[in-house]
Symmetry: C2
Subunit: 340 residues, 2 copies
């Protein structure tokens, strides 16, 4: 098992990327990695970590950084010597390399992987699936969260299949409960896309479709996977993220407005830390691009070593669990059924 680790573009790059990968390598003795980025910075981090055994580590000098300011498609086309583009190139060309893990620009990574990495047979376009915490302690995946706008009903079906296999492989969720994001729970709700997709989802083999759901129940724990077009999914994810952030910020501001609140908050310090951790999405793993021939995991830009380690472990589980082969089988079952 060999992965590329993109060591630029994150808030804590290259340190978090290097340390996170080393941590995952300690857990997975069969894992070897290629670090792309500024070679001397990577070497410095390896030395600082006391990493002398280099049998499972390569480094490739690719010093250009793709930032959030770069236009994704331009960055992929023009920044040929960036750690991400070089990583994507290696992922595509080297049959030994199974995955790329990055904490860099989401847009560029999705665009790059969609353009450069092939699709699994039958998959129309790869979809992006982040993971959120459910209030009941579990997790919930949202697929697609922004890679595909203007989709057709069959794509929602593919999102359901890919997301189900993903949650099984990477998180051990059994028979993931799949719901379609809609503006009401009744069968006939929604726009044309949703109305056409509903019977398709009902008749998709190998998924556990439980019906429509409303966005207010996102974190309810009643669903393991939400399927939606990338526009609505993006709105869903970013509203949830934004609200959690704004609320925590508002609480903080209000606490600092009065001495007695500050005192109260002091007693609740540990609790507030736990709340912050709960809503810190990086604690739940990276977002995965599903449907590409090889695994691409996007860690949060602010990922520390532990978060990067989680992303690498996710890729290990997908790789060892044979997720892509399972997606291919599910797609064959679907097409076989459709052909009958």
């Amino acid at each position: 098992m060999k992965f590329v680790i993109d060591c630029l573009g994150g808030d804590n790059s290259p340190r978090a990327n290097v340390l996170g990968a080393l941590k995952a390598m300690a857990k997975y003795p069969d894992l070897s990695v290629v670090f792309t980025g500024v070679q001397e910075d990577i070497e410095r981090e390896l030395a600082a970590a006391g990493q002398t055994d280099r049998s499972r580590i390569e480094t490739v000098h690719a010093p250009q950084v793709i930032t959030g300011e770069d236009k994704p498609t331009d960055a992929i086309r023009l920044k040929k010597n960036s750690s991400m583009v070089v990583g994507l190139h290696m992922l595509r060309e080297d049959p030994e390399i199974a995955a790329l893990i990055s904490t860099g620009s989401t847009g560029a990574l999705v665009a790059g992987a969609t353009l450069r990495i092939g699709r699994l047979p039958g998959i129309r376009r790869p979809a992006f699936c982040p993971i959120l915490p459910a209030m009941t302690g579990g997790i919930v995946g949202v697929c697609d969260s922004g890679a595909n706008v203007d989709i057709i009903p069959e794509q929602l079906q593919q999102f359901a299949i890919m997301g189900s296999r993903y949650l099984e492989c990477a998180f051990g969720v059994k028979a993931p409960r799949v719901a379609m994001l809609n503006i009401g729970v009744e069968t006939e709700k929604g726009d044309l896309l949703r109305k056409e997709a509903y019977p398709l989802l009902q008749n998709t083999p190998g998924i556990n479709f439980v019906g429509n759901m409303e966005s207010r129940d996102l974190l309810s724990g009643n669903y393991d996977l939400i399927v939606c077009d990338g526009f609505a999914g993006n709105v869903l994810i970013k509203t949830a993220e934004g609200m959690a952030l704004e609320l925590m910020r508002k609480l903080k501001r209000d606490i600092y407005s009065k001495g007695i609140y500050k005192l109260g908050a002091l007693l609740m310090k540990r609790m507030f830390q736990q709340e912050r951790d709960f809503f810190n999405y990086q604690n739940y793993g990276g977002s995965v691009l599903l449907g590409a021939e090889k695994t691409v995991v996007k860690g949060h830009g602010s990922s520390g070593p532990d978060a990067v380690c989680k992303c690498v472990e996710q890729a290990c589980k997908m790789s060892l669990g044979g997720m892509n082969e399972q997606i291919i089988q599910s797609m064959q079952a679907l097409n076989g059924e459709a052909a009958q």
Copy 2:
């Protein structure tokens, strides 16, 4: 100025509806009202409130209730003697009646008003516009939030015009900053709908279009009006509402998990009450159906007298400010421009 007050269907009906209307009548001496609902219950509330002057009050017996369980279009068609359907009928037929205020089923009210009340000239379909609190202390409107799915770009333009006139009239917002909900702020972002709507919005006279916005900035205070299709708007609103609720619930649960947290929370009791009030949408007024020939205001189902009073006042301001005439003028300006 004469309004119909639907006195059934809310959690606190008819009491909140009757008392709220009386409160608004005290502020607006030119306002008279017609209460629809269970006549003897309404009379009891009027008597309990010591309301002896009946010169500005009528009551109409329409005892059927439309509940959240009713299918909206069926309810409008079949529950002919419901307080809402009778109210809508009076609104349509009586030239003296300018507005209907209800705390009943949103779906039924939107469906009923869309089916029964005419549209303003040039308006394709009425749109629903709720109001949320901005973190900076102001408000933000979202149009459309669920009445229109599968829309065309020109409808986003109409939402921008109607919402702008609404925020000016009902809330005194000057040159409301209109943003289009999108999956990124760059001009070229989004699906086909958004890409086509962007230049339209840029060239719409009488609105202050400031560009795209992402859902995470919903409450930032940087925008006064968010325009979107009803599907995305519904996801936006319900995610925001759901997250605020879930977060407050989680805080509460966690506080009760330890004695020291309970003690801390006791010191912060007032603050937590203020947070709850801040996120209680009913404190910011009702949701309005824009583009209908007559004003329809939907108060939150849990509205108390103050919230109902706010809804009635909103309708007064729209009526006195000549909102619909202004929308007509803006539409004429738009069409004049388009014709040139």
